[in-house]
Structure formats: structure tokens, C-alpha cells
């Protein structure tokens, strides 16, 4: 074994391997302004989410003053309806909302992409069964369905993540199946079958890499939708439960303030909007790159 690795190392130097990093650097240099804007905004959000305890002036739940204080040096964005620091809650909310959205989207993609690939590669009755089941799930409006299910099983974080992931995976399934259908008919998939490759290899090594660009683009969009679904569920009181901060419930809790001319409830709403715009800018750039459109 040891011999084998050294001998192969002798062979390797002639091979010029392009690293992912050098490709990424080249692409970034060419990225348009909108993509840069999106990337920077996303980076700031991630920074805020990861280092929330370091940058937030107070903790998420600490009451630091009177209810609904206006902004001051003491509390930069004022306080909320319970006297907690608004800015700190905004920063901690990035952590909760983003984390849950990423987890949910990843889960829905795993379910949707695996089932979609199975459908496309195997075809036949498996395809029919999966396809029709998805049709049934999609026939019911997503948000209402999610609310009904949450009301039945109770609003806990795992339930929330699972329900949204499953409901959202129907969309992923359809996209995956549609694009994979175009790939499974190509000769190289047939060649792999004739080579005696197993189902898993064909799905993950032959087909998946070729449908990755549309899936990644879809990931960006789905991420935004999941994010908005969680926020709207929180707004209805079915999402992330207090005292955990999240942007949707922050809007709801402070909604009445808008009457007295306080802009506080608009700030978390703006945070949601800005991230959605930023993610879409990056997705647009990626789609443009991979679709081969020029000019």
C-alpha cells in the first residue's frame, strides 16, 4: 500500500491539476457589481450570525430598560415591547433565522434531489408513485398546509424544520427530475449501465454533477422561500417561539408601533428583504454563468 502511494506520487507531478480555489478566484474577478453586492451582504449576515455574542451589545433576552424606548446611545435602535435591546435581538435573530433556513433547505434538497434522481434513473412505476405522491402534496397550498400540520403536531423547532423541508422538497423533486430526465438519456449513462455500475454511482457520479448548476441556482431561490415561510409562520405565531428572537416574530411583536410612527418593526422586515435581494443577485450571476448566456 505504501509503495503504491509513493509510486503514484511519482506519476502525479506531470498532471496539472486546477484547484477549485484558482477557478473561484478567476470567476470572482469577473463577477458583475450586483453579484459582488450580494456576496458582501451575505458575508455580513453570516458574520453577524456566527459572532452574534461578540458584536451584540446585550444578550437576546436581557431587559435593559423601559418598553419601547426610542433610540439612544444606551440602546442604538431602542427597545422592544418588553424592554429588550432591539439591535441585539436583530443580530441574534440572524443566527436563528439563517441557521434554521439553511438546515431546512439542505434537508429539503437532500430529500427532493435523491427522490428526483431515483425517479429519473429508474423510471417506471417508481417514477409514477413518487410523481403522484408529490402531486398530492403540491395540490394543497403550502403555507396553509404547514400551518395545519404545525397545529396538529405542535410548534417545536424540529417539527417546524421537518414540515417545511418535506413540503418544500416537492418543488426540488420536480426540478431535479425534470433536469435529470435530460441527462439520463445520454450515451454516457448508458455506457455506465453497460459497465455494470450500481444505481448509486449512476445517480451521484454520472447524473448529479451534470444537473448541479440548475440545482444550486434552485437552492438559492428555495433558501429565500424557506426563509420567507419561516418568517410568515413566525408572524402568525406558529414559527420560532419566544423568547428566541427571529425577524418574522419581531415584525409581528412590534407591528402596533408603526401607528405611532416608530420605524422599529420595519427594520427586521428590511433585513429579510435585503438578504432575499442579495441571495437572488448571487443566484442570477450563477445562472448566467452556467447557462452559457453571453452579453
Amino acid at each position: 500500500m505504501n509503495d503504491a502511494t509513493t509510486a503514484s506520487a511519482e506519476h502525479q507531478p506531470v498532471i496539472v491539476r486546477r484547484t477549485l480555489w484558482s477557478t473561484a478566484k478567476r470567476e470572482l474577478r469577473r463577477a458583475p457589481l450586483s453579484a459582488w453586492f450580494g456576496l458582501i451582504v451575505i458575508a455580513i449576515y453570516i458574520f453577524a450570525a456566527v459572532f452574534a455574542p461578540l458584536i451584540a451589545p446585550y444578550s437576546e433576552t436581557e431587559m435593559i430598560g423601559m418598553r419601547n424606548e426610542p433610540s439612544s446611545l444606551h440602546a442604538l435602535l431602542g427597545t422592544d415591547q418588553l424592554g429588550r435591546d432591539f439591535l441585539s435581538r436583530l443580530i441574534y435573530a440572524a443566527r436563528n433565522t439563517l441557521g434554521i433556513a439553511i438546515l431546512t433547505t439542505a434537508l429539503s434538497f437532500t430529500i427532493g434531489a435523491v427522490l428526483g434522481l431515483l425517479s429519473a434513473v429508474l423510471g417506471g412505476w417508481i417514477d409514477q408513485l413518487l410523481g403522484r405522491s408529490v402531486d398530492v402534496l403540491m395540490a394543497i397550498p403550502q403555507l396553509i398546509f404547514a400551518m395545519v400540520l404545525l397545529a396538529v403536531v405542535g410548534t417545536s423547532l424540529p417539527n417546524l424544520v421537518l414540515i417545511i423541508a418535506v413540503l418544500d422538497s416537492t418543488r426540488v423533486y420536480r426540478v431535479t427530475r425534470a433536469v435529470a430526465m435530460n441527462v439520463v438519456v445520454l450515451d454516457f449513462v448508458e455506457a455506465a449501465k453497460l459497465q455494470g455500475e450500481k444505481l448509486g454511482w449512476i445517480m451521484l457520479r454520472e447524473v448529479l454533477p451534470n444537473i448541479l448548476p440548475p440545482l444550486v441556482a434552485e437552492f438559492g431561490l428555495r433558501f429565500c422561500f424557506v426563509f420567507l415561510t419561516i418568517s410568515s409562520l413566525s408572524f402568525f405565531g406558529l414559527g420560532i417561539q419566544p423568547p428566541t428572537a427571529d425577524w418574522g416574530s419581531m415584525v409581528k411583536e412590534n407591528a402596533t408601533l408603526i401607528i405611532s410612527g416608530n420605524i422599529a418593526p420595519l427594520i427586521p422586515a428590511a433585513a429579510i428583504a435585503l438578504l432575499t435581494v442579495a441571495v437572488n443577485f448571487v443566484v442570477d450571476w450563477f445562472l448566467h454563468k452556467t447557462s452559457g448566456l453571453k452579453g
Binding site: 509503495d3 503504491a4 502511494t5 509510486a7 503514484s8 511519482e10 506519476h11 502525479q12 506531470v14 498532471i15 496539472v16 491539476r17 486546477r18 445520454l186 450515451d187 454516457f188 448508458e190 455506457a191 455506465a192 449501465k193 453497460l194 459497465q195 455494470g196 455500475e197 457520479r205 454520472e206 454533477p209 451534470n210 448541479l212 453571453k294 452579453g295
Partner: protein
């Protein structure tokens, strides 16, 4: 109207198109580089000019430039394109649109992809003359029927009412030629109009085009990579390479005394011949196989094919003859309805799913389109290495060493290891496909039209490679093709298929020696030859079948 009739006043022999110092640049990787490097071209009224060259020679780019058009991502950077007194390189879009379709027309390679599938043929025909105000609707329809008749389409009165999918490929190509002639243009650009057609269909399209171009005294630029075809169509031939002119001469002179070495090498490709050898023992026997795709229509009917060890059997036929289906039956992708397949003395399980891995290893396949046969996201060392790992259990250094050996066997080297399929040329892709097949140490390789997507010179290289590998490795080929020149180059035995049946089979010389059955005769006589009189000769003979005997040399 007046403009159209005045343009027709020109005499045969007047200069119609004069291109001087034309340079066209294309953009890739944010750099501009020249595709056409300073070409001159003169075309007279009523003259047919043949443009030949390999892909990438710039012939299509030049053809489009003759209409003043540059593809997206290309630009005309220098030179003039004088068409009947106007410089097309300087006209703006609106002025060119007045000429396009009316005085300059274009016939694309794939008629099927160029017609709008949602409209009837005759409506698409009428669109251009009506838009240009040359004719009104009913005139255009009468005119279409007239042209359909001249192009020898069946049922000229009613065929225009069909949709594109309701007519055959050859008919569609003729309908497109009719469409391009609707305004009686001065110049038509034919861009490989018969490349996608079978030889038996091609001959009809060629004859129709030749006829109608002469009748209307239309000048034409005929772009192709097939020398025998251009020999029939063109008065004069230009050979292009790397965007530069190699040689230009009248057709007969060009064929009989090519001057440049490159032109001579193009001419020599067709003369590749393999001496036929009888095989020692049979490796594969296909016994009275019937097959169909689910329905009642049989795609294969009582097919018998025998492949000797270490020899090549060519399966010849037009599209729809079932030759690719035969490959699917042998590989087990389509289990036969009746009949059996015996490989090396033992019956093959009908479906590939029930074949043991070792059997899959011994029987490999190479595809027609190397672009789709290689996974575009996997690098060359992954593609070949996986086959080695899977079939022979090689790993690590042994695998890497063998991968390089295989690349060298197909005349590539280790610089290709880390490339993606999109980073190599078409011929190199096909070589990688061959290396992947060889990685399994196969005994039989099924080659499905492996050279038909390639240029002649590249195809010749692949054929030579296959012959050499056969000699070294004693592998058998089942070679599926519609091209008889390829058959002569590679086969020991020939099987001719027509409508799912084997019409003729046996050793090469025996199959290619008369007397022929009627289909074999039709097929063999449809293969274009380098003789410029060939097309006229065949057509005269076919029109009076009684005088079929030794009419033409």
C-alpha cells in the same frame, strides 16, 4: 417588384459577389481571434462554388459572411463584401434585412431544426415572399406548388399542407430548398444540406438542388466536407483550412490534379482499403433474432449475424434499417423477442442486468457521438480509471500507469489525464472513448457509427487506429455504419440491412460483387463518387432501368 425583376436582368457570367480581404474574428475567453484570415472570393451569376474543409476551417463562417451576417460572438473586422454593387459589410441591419430572403437565401444543415414545427410547410414558404411584398398569399401558394414539383416532392399540390414532422428528412430538406428559392434569389448558401441524410436520400436531394439551381440560373455557395458531393454540385472548388485559402480551381482540375499537399491528403482519405481475411472461429452468433420497442412493429426480423474472432463485420444500412437496434439487442439494452445470441460458445443472457460483470467486460461499445458518450463533468483519468478499477480491480499506481498506457495506445499522452471532455477535440474525444472501451480488455467492440460525426481526415485517423488495435489485440469489431467508404476501409465481412431484415451478407468482396439484389444495388449506386459526372450518370441509368448493364464506367 421592380427591383426583383431588374436583378434578374443580369447575364450569366457577370460578377455577382466579390469578397476582398475578409477577416472575421470570434470571441472566446474575452479575447478576439481570427476565424477567417483575409479571404478573397469571386462568384459569378449562375455559378456554383464549393467550399470544403474540416470543421473549424471557417467555411460556415465564410458562407454566412457572404450574406453579410456574422454569428453572435463574431464580427467582421476587415474587408469588403460587394454583392451586386453594395458592400454588405457596411450596410446596416435594416438594409440587409431587405436583401435577406429576397436576394440572398440560406439553407441550413438540419432542416428539421430550422422549420417551425407549429406551422404548415406552405405557410412557412409564403412568409418570406409576402413579407418582402414580392407576391400575395395565393401567388405564393401557386409558386410553392410549382417549386415542390420541380424539386420532385411527392404530391406537390398537397404536401405543403403538412407539418414538418409529417414528412421525411430528405423531403424536408427539399422543402427548405424550395423555401429558399421562393423569391428567386440571386445567391443561395447551402450549408451542408445533405450531411444528415442517408446516401439513398441524399442522391435525390442533390439531384433536385442541382436541377433547380440550373433552371433559375441561381448562383450558389455549397459548403460541405464531403468531396464526392462537392464534385457533383460545384463548378469551382475552394479548399479552406484554418480560415485561409489552400487551393482554388475548377472542379475537374481540382479533382484530377490537386496541387497542395493538404488537398492531396484530403483526396487520399477515400482510398483506405483493408485486405479481407477469413476468421478462425466465431466469437458472436446472432441467431434469428426478432426485436421491437414494445409495440407490434418489428424493428428486427429474423436477423442472423456472425462475427469471427479478431475480424470486423460491418453492418450497413440507412437510418431506420434497425442496425442500431441490433447493437442494443447484443449489448442487452433491448432483450430480443425471439432468437438467441451466442457469445464465445455460450448463450448471452438477454438483458444486460442479468449478465455477470465479466461478460459485460468482454463486450464493449463505442458510440456515434463522442460528445454525449463522455460525462462532461468527469476528467479523462476518472473516465478511464473507473473502467480499469471496475473491470480489472486496478488501484493506485497500477491504475495510473495503465491509464497512461491506454492513452498512448490511442495516440494521446499523459497531458490529457486532467482534461475535461470539453477541453479536447472531437477526434480526441472519440479516442478517449476507444481507450475506455479498451480498458476492459474486451473481445468484441461494437462501434456504432463511430466516425460519422467526424471530419474525413480525423475519421481516417480513427479507422487506422482501430485497424492497428485489432492487429495488436485481436479484438473483434461489429462496425455499424451507413458509409460505404468506411466499410471498404475496415470490414472483413459485410451485413446489409434494410427495414429490419438482413438482405445480403458474407465476405466483403463477395457482397460487393454483382449480381446484386435490388436494394443492395440502390444502396451501392447511391454512394457518391469523386467523378463529377457520377450524379448525372446514375440518374440517367435509373431513369431507363432497361439499360442498367454496362452503361457507365
Amino acid at each position: 417588384m421592380t427591383q426583383a425583376s431588374s436583378s434578374r436582368a443580369g447575364q450569366k457570367g457577370d460578377v455577382l459577389l466579390q469578397i476582398r480581404g475578409l477577416r472575421i474574428e470570434g470571441e472566446s475567453d474575452e479575447k478576439w481571434h481570427e476565424i477567417v484570415k483575409g479571404l478573397d472570393l469571386t462568384l459569378h451569376r449562375g455559378e456554383v462554388l464549393g467550399l470544403i474543409g474540416e470543421s473549424g476551417a471557417g467555411k460556415s463562417t465564410l458562407g454566412l459572411a457572404a450574406m453579410g451576417y456574422a454569428r453572435p460572438g463574431c464580427r467582421i473586422s476587415a474587408g469588403s463584401i460587394m454583392f451586386d454593387g453594395k458592400d454588405l459589410a457596411k450596410l446596416d441591419e435594416a438594409e440587409k434585412r431587405q436583401l435577406w430572403g429576397k436576394r440572398l437565401a440560406y439553407v441550413a444543415q438540419s432542416a428539421a431544426a430550422s422549420f417551425n414545427p407549429a406551422h404548415r410547410l406552405i405557410d412557412q414558404y409564403s412568409e418570406t415572399p409576402i413579407w418582402h411584398g414580392v407576391m400575395n398569399g395565393s401567388e405564393a401558394k401557386r409558386n410553392a406548388v410549382d417549386l415542390y414539383r420541380r424539386l420532385r416532392l411527392p404530391n406537390p399540390e398537397t404536401i405543403g399542407n403538412r407539418y414538418p414532422h409529417q414528412v421525411s428528412g430528405g423531403q424536408l430538406q427539399r422543402a427548405m430548398t424550395a423555401m429558399s428559392m421562393s423569391c428567386r434569389p440571386d445567391l443561395i448558401i447551402f450549408d451542408e444540406p445533405t450531411t444528415a441524410l442517408d446516401v439513398t436520400t441524399q442522391i435525390e436531394v442533390l439531384a433536385a438542388i442541382k436541377d433547380v439551381v440550373h433552371q433559375f440560373n441561381t448562383a450558389a455557395i455549397y459548403i460541405t466536407h464531403d468531396l464526392a458531393v462537392v464534385a457533383q454540385m460545384a463548378d469551382r472548388i475552394m479548399v479552406l483550412r484554418y480560415g485561409e485559402l489552400v487551393e482554388e480551381a475548377p472542379t475537374r482540375k481540382m479533382l484530377s490534379q490537386p496541387e497542395q499537399a493538404y488537398t492531396k491528403s484530403l483526396w487520399a482519405v477515400r482510398s483506405l482499403q483493408k485486405a479481407e481475411e477469413a476468421g478462425p472461429d466465431l466469437l458472436l452468433r446472432v441467431n434469428s433474432v426478432d426485436a421491437s420497442y414494445g409495440g407490434a412493429v418489428k424493428v428486427l426480423e429474423n436477423v442472423n449475424v456472425f462475427v469471427p474472432r479478431g475480424r470486423t463485420v460491418a453492418v450497413v444500412g440507412e437510418s431506420g434499417s434497425g442496425k442500431s437496434t441490433l447493437a442494443r439487442v447484443i449489448t442487452g439494452l433491448l432483450p430480443p423477442q425471439t432468437g438467441d445470441i451466442v457469445f464465445d460458445g455460450r448463450a448471452l443472457p438477454p438483458s444486460f442486468k442479468s449478465r455477470p460483470r465479466d461478460l459485460l467486460r468482454r463486450l464493449q461499445m463505442i458510440y456515434q457521438m463522442p460528445d454525449t458518450a463522455l460525462n462532461p463533468r468527469r476528467r479523462v483519468h476518472d473516465i478511464i480509471g473507473r473502467a480499469l478499477e471496475h473491470h480489472l480491480g486496478l488501484k493506485g499506481a497500477a491504475k495510473d500507469k495503465r491509464t497512461i498506457e491506454l492513452l498512448e495506445m490511442v495516440e494521446l499522452d499523459q497531458r490529457f489525464l486532467d482534461r475535461l471532455p470539453s477541453e479536447v477535440s472531437g477526434g480526441q474525444k472519440q479516442r478517449i472513448c476507444i481507450a475506455r472501451a479498451l480498458a476492459a480488455n474486451p473481445e468484441l467492440i461494437i462501434c456504432d457509427e463511430v466516425t460519422s460525426a467526424l471530419d474525413q481526415i480525423v475519421a481516417e485517423g480513427i479507422l487506422k487506429l482501430l485497424l492497428r488495435l485489432q492487429k495488436e489485440l485481436r479484438v473483434s469489431y461489429l462496425y455499424i455504419t451507413h458509409d460505404l467508404a468506411t466499410v471498404k476501409a475496415i470490414a472483413d465481412e459485410i451485413v446489409i440491412m434494410h427495414r429490419g431484415r438482413v438482405v445480403r451478407s458474407g465476405p466483403k468482396t463477395q457482397v460487393l460483387t454483382p449480381p446484386f439484389d435490388s436494394y443492395t444495388d440502390l444502396l451501392l449506386s447511391s454512394v457518391p463518387e469523386m467523378d463529377p459526372d457520377w450524379l448525372d450518370g446514375v440518374l440517367t441509368r435509373r431513369s431507363k432501368p432497361a439499360a442498367m448493364a454496362p452503361a457507365n464506367a
